[in-house]
């Protein structure tokens, strides 16, 4: 691999924001193809995701790596647009109505961006109507819903039911501390992830199906 691209990937793996910015700029200054720089960033984030799943690194590292990725993507974006490179898939993501807790949802959003998903983050406390309208309007491939509280799990059930009754035909994935595989199956969600680390794999599987 080109040493400049390797530096990009290594900076993400090392969870070093400054190094990622410097390495990305250096790769662009050397006129490397924007898509190959993006691939290097994604390789770095994939490594971060693998280590997170294996409990070798934790939320602080993932947050810093994701911010590093975001900074680099900011530098890269004009070049990607100029080259006509687009995100692989688009996801609409939020916490369900009544739930303001968003760190899990934010982690999933960051990790999906690292896997070249375009993430439409609707934030917290989002009604079923707003989710459905955004997913249809944005032509999303997938919806992701999060709930931290048992008291907001009924809203998750209701939101999934209303999505299934709507004109949006894509899959819905769910997660959050009290959410279980059994509950996800019960409410007819298409996928459940027990943690942010597995959510990327799940999203890729659902959009590939």
């Amino acid at each position: 691999m080109n040493p400049l691209l390797d530096s990009v990937a290594q900076a993400i793996m090392a969870c070093n924001r400054k190094a990622a910015k410097v390495a990305t700029q250096a790769a662009l200054d050397a006129s490397l193809d924007a898509e190959t720089v993006l691939a290097a960033l994604m390789r770095g984030m994939e490594d971060v995701g693998q280590r997170f799943k294996a409990n070798r690194i934790f939320v602080p590292e993932v947050l810093v790596a994701a911010r590093a990725m975001k900074t680099s993507l900011g530098l890269l974006e004009p070049h990607l647009v100029a080259s006509g490179v687009q995100a692989t898939h688009k996801i609409v993501i939020c916490t369900v109505e009544g739930d303001l807790h968003d760190i899990g949802k934010n982690l999933v959003a960051m990790m999906l961006q690292g896997a070249n998903f375009e993430v439409i983050d609707l934030g917290t406390n989002v009604s079923a109507r707003v989710v459905i309208d955004a997913a249809i309007e944005q032509k999303a491939d997938l919806i992701g819903l999060s709930s931290l509280l048992t008291t907001t799990m009924p809203a998750m059930r209701d939101t999934v039911a209303r999505i299934k009754d709507s004109a949006f035909n894509g899959p819905v994935m769910v997660g959050g501390a009290p959410v279980t595989e059994r509950f996800a199956a019960e409410i007819a969600a298409d996928g459940y992830s027990p943690s942010a680390a597995y959510a990327v794999d799940l999203a890729c599987r659902l959009v590939a199906a």
């Binding site: 934790f58 939320v59 602080p60 911010r67 406390n125 279980t180 027990p194």
Partner: protein, 353 residues
């Protein structure tokens, strides 16, 4: 600590029973102490025909919680409440605590200009005398919530604080030290009263594993806990901690620095029976009844069966029965009555209701 049979609980006060259980003695029955969020508490008061202050007399809870675990708030309108630290909490959804809306420490440099409020605010201690006189037979627990990591993220923001562990370690150490100093000052004041234990609340866990990982917990949080627990141990009182989530990997360290009792003991995050068996000679547990699945979603019969199993486990000592969180508004009322009745139905507890 070697388990031994406690003297007959019929002659003991609730305060003495909890003390015996924390010392590893086997009680005649498993003591209990429950917590409720606003709606279930109101429902229970209606059920028993009492005021919130009198609820303890009806539930028979063994622990009298003193102090003000989440501090004092000023209603600033629009479901927003400002605490004495300056944090504005959005209670539009969660009516009991809420979520911080502002970021007092926008940059690490802001710490130098930030002054914590008075840790010895008289309001923390104002009701100790009155409440201990009202319930003289209960175990007296001085509670201090948002005690370190949580206080830090309410001031700095969760995501920024987590990244600071990596990018601004000196700031995190300084912030934690400042918060621990505040806690220690408040606890030293509390120890002037006839209390039995100090309870810190600080969530470190996720459903699986620690938020920040063990190494960072040990580097940043443990040294401050060591100082905080040390003050309580030196005064000869018991030390409690509340941390939600999957944190049992920390038990050996926490025991080393003097922890006596762990709450909330969530069955979804850890195998409560296995952990109790493995640690009960060194650590007691308070909680155990599933609030994520059983209480909101299962039948009263299932609640009773799970309660009886936990109460039986507690006969070995080192256990205080309770739901593993303050009971939320989504729990059917018949399920609330079910676990209360099961605790009361223990034959040897008859004189304690």
């Amino acid at each position: 600590m070697i388990s031994s049979i406690a003297p007959s609980t019929a002659r003991m006060t609730k305060r003495e029973i909890i003390t015996a259980v924390l010392q590893g003695q086997q009680p005649d029955y498993t003591p209990w102490s429950f917590r409720f969020t606003q709606e279930p508490e109101a429902h229970l008061c209606q059920h028993f025909g009492c005021e919130p202050e009198d609820l303890l007399a009806h539930t028979g809870c063994h622990i009298l919680e003193l102090g003000s675990p989440i501090g004092f708030f000023e209603d600033i309108g629009n479901n927003r409440f400002r605490d004495v630290f300056g944090v504005v909490w959005d209670r539009s959804q969660d009516k009991d605590i809420g979520l911080p809306e502002n970021q007092l420490l926008a940059e690490p440099e802001d710490l130098g200009n930030y002054t914590l409020p008075d840790p010895c605010d008289p309001r923390f201690f104002a009701d100790i005398k009155r409440r201990t006189e009202r319930y003289p037979d209960r175990f007296r627990l001085f509670t201090l919530g948002f005690s370190l990591f949580e206080r830090a993220w309410t001031l700095r923001g969760m995501e920024d604080l987590l990244m600071d562990f990596i990018e601004e370690p000196d700031f995190v150490h300084a912030l934690f030290e400042k918060i621990a100093d505040y806690n220690i000052a408040q606890v030293k004041e509390a120890l002037k009263y006839d209390i039995d234990a100090v309870y810190y609340g600080d969530d470190w866990g996720q459903q699986r594993g620690l938020i920040m990982g063990y190494d960072r917990w040990k580097e940043f949080i443990y040294p401050q806990l060591q100082r905080m627990y040390g003050v309580v141990k030196d005064a000869g009182r018991f030390q409690f901690i509340h941390s939600c989530g999957d944190v049992d990997e920390l038990f050996p360290d926490l025991i080393d620095i003097g922890l006596n009792c762990f709450n909330p003991f969530q069955p979804e995050a850890m195998d409560v029976y296995e952990i109790h068996r493995d640690y009960r000679d060194r650590l007691s547990f308070w909680g155990g009844l599933s609030t994520q699945s059983t209480l909101p979603y299962e039948s009263a019969a299932t609640v009773r069966a799970e309660s009886r199993k936990l109460l039986e486990m507690g006969r070995a000592g080192s256990f205080i029965f309770s739901p593993s969180h303050s009971v939320e508004s989504d729990v059917p009322f018949k399920n609330i009555l079910a676990f209360i009745e099961e605790a009361h139905a223990q034959p040897a507890a008859a004189g304690q209701i």
